[in-house]
């Protein structure tokens, strides 16, 4: 189990940041991802793996009309 924005989310082997964003349908372009408070650069979303028990924050910036 991992935390995504403070809520429980089922972890699975090999889950990358990119995979998590896809699973959660987080398609908004202005997103920061922090794992255990460490900022993950966008270029590394496909390669960085999330470990069981990680605290992931997917911060969407405000936008819109």
């Amino acid at each position: 189990m991992i935390k995504v924005n403070g809520r429980d989310f089922q972890w699975e082997e090999g889950l990358t940041v990119k995979g998590l964003l896809e699973k959660k349908k987080y398609t908004f372009p202005k997103i920061y991802v922090r794992i255990n408070d460490e900022l993950i650069p966008q270029e590394e979303y496909a390669t960085v793996e999330i470990k069981d028990g990680d605290d992931v924050k997917v911060i969407h910036m405000m936008a819109g009309g």
Binding site: N5, R7, K30, Y32, M61, M62, G64, G65
Partner: protein
Amino acid sequence: MMDVKKIKDEHVTLQEYTYQLGNVDKGYTNRTLYINLSENKIKTKEVTQQMKEKFIGGKGFGLWYLWNAVTPQTKWNDPENEIVIAGGPICGITQYPGSGKSLICTISPLTGIPIDSNVGGYFGPLLKFSGWDALEIQGKADKDVIIVIDGNNGTVKIEEAPLEAIDGHVIGEQLTEMYADSEEDKRNVAVVTAGTAAEHTLVGLLNFTFYDVRRKVARLKQAGRGGIGTVFRNKKIKALVVKYQGVKGNLNNPVDQGTINQTGIKLHKEICKLDDKQNGMRKIGTANIIEVMDEYDLLPTHNFKFGMHKDTHKISSKVFIEKYITQGMADGCWYGCSMACAKAADKFELKTGPYKGHLVTVDGPEYENAAGLGSNCGIFDPHVVLELNFYCDTYAVDTISFGTITAFIMDCYENGIINKEITGGLELKFGNSDAALELLHQMSRGEGFGKVAGQGVHRMKKLFVEKYGADESFLNDIGMEQKGLEYSQYLSKESLAQQGGYALTNKGPQHDEAWLIFMDMVNNQIPTFDDKAEALHYFPMFRTWFGLYGMCKLPWNDIVPESNAHANEPAKIPEHVQNYVDICNAVTGKSIDKDQLIRESERVYNFQKVFNIRMGKGLRVHDRAPYRSIGPVTVEEYESRQDRYDSQLKEILGYEVDGKTTQEKVKVLRKYREEQFEKLQDTVYARRGWTKEGIPKIEHLKEIGMDLPEVLEVLEKVGETK
């Protein structure tokens, strides 16, 4: 088009006023222009120090003048109601993106209280450079008039103008042509107009032009909300024209031009580097979020029932970019806005209505238009969305209200509350684009069911109950209006903070105070009531500030600097907040900081709140929200998201859902959600310094420096005396 010389020859000058040209000093001309159309009176008013300190400019000036003009009994169509247009001290600088906005205030035909609307186009800055911090129009003309301000010769004229068109895109062109000395000079002319539907509905808007030198057309930006265009036509104003030649970068006479230049260059570079990766505002403007909202289940669909639809891809931003929008043009609605989000579809061929077959320029679509005219009405045809968008603008109908009104009608139609007989043959089912277009054309002609629809959701609810025996509580649940104003286009059911962002506002449910859906629902960044209340204090106050200074909020948060990834409070975009503090001080010579920035807004925000109370609204009861903005009203709605709602009932309330009917579950969920909303209301009121009834506390007004005698007098009347 008609020969403009012929049109002009019919003008009769009713009044002419000459004035000394002046200079702008630290963002202010220090005088405003007052016009009374009943008496054909024109005069100059001095801007007082108190106005500058307490009300700053823009919407603050508008509310102050309006307060002094009206009584608690004043109705929108009384002659004493005013339309006030003001930029603000930063308005008109050309170095920082988003610095050319006008703020318009009037008593709204929809809500009966002050409405304010923020709009681009060149009118606000050119008005200031012509010598005026604000334009205040009171009274009513006998016949159609235009008001012409010549900022180079120092004249103001009221002219009878019988032959001009009414519809926005035609009269915008006619007057630009008429008052420009040459093609080159057209960019020095800015026009404010309404349209034919503003005469027959309560949802009329104002169009503000700016001349697009590349497309060679007078483009239209809208002050859309609350029916200001209806007031405009009721005063028999056909147009306002301002002409000023000589725009350059230092006309505001700021105290520190260097800081303004540097701050501007920093933002231009960010936009240039990051916009493509972030929102793509320069490609498609605010419409970039259509498909994003669908993915997050937030795109209002079928009168806010659902948040997504299988056909959304047909009206996604990509479709508009690839098929309709002309790219690579200068789309800033004031000089220097490199964000350039004012997109346009050129040579768009109209298929219906009086301009059928014409090739026109459509400004848009904005996100709100695509969602309101599109998905919320079940219309997924991009051509129809743009055609509705065009006709809303030129007839002067607020697209947001039109979308929400039409979606409501369609919901009523499908629920058997109204039928073809009542609608005069229009089959107003979700997705019927022909019927939606015809409804709009009827608004322009003042005919048929279009006339009924043009009264807005609030009045239609009453009519459907009284005339057709509709169930009042059901209509109150599904009619997406509050205080009389139609909701803008976000599905707020899963975000308590956004429900508050809509309902706990001064003017009615409008997205420009705060958009907290992502922060709240997706990020879970503001989990407690106190967190939400803090956000519902900070963001509305922060955004209010743009309206005091004549600015656009998009460059604040639709582009995010790289530093933001490491910021303590990323949602506030601290680097950009500092930019605003810096340019404010650089223009005006003040030395405010980020806390005083919020304080400046708090004063005006609380003033507006007391203004509402003075007009008989503004209390807790007026902040009640239609249940559809809070949760699922119907069985169909609940079952469309059954897993979500079932698990909420189980996990949050410990309610055993097995064996329960959907009706039972809807009821339990509703009780819970309504209690949550009430609790939010209590917490937000407390944070804002208001009583449980939503009345600003006197001690709070003293603390923020808004304990003016006239304000306290109103509070005494409602029993606030401490």
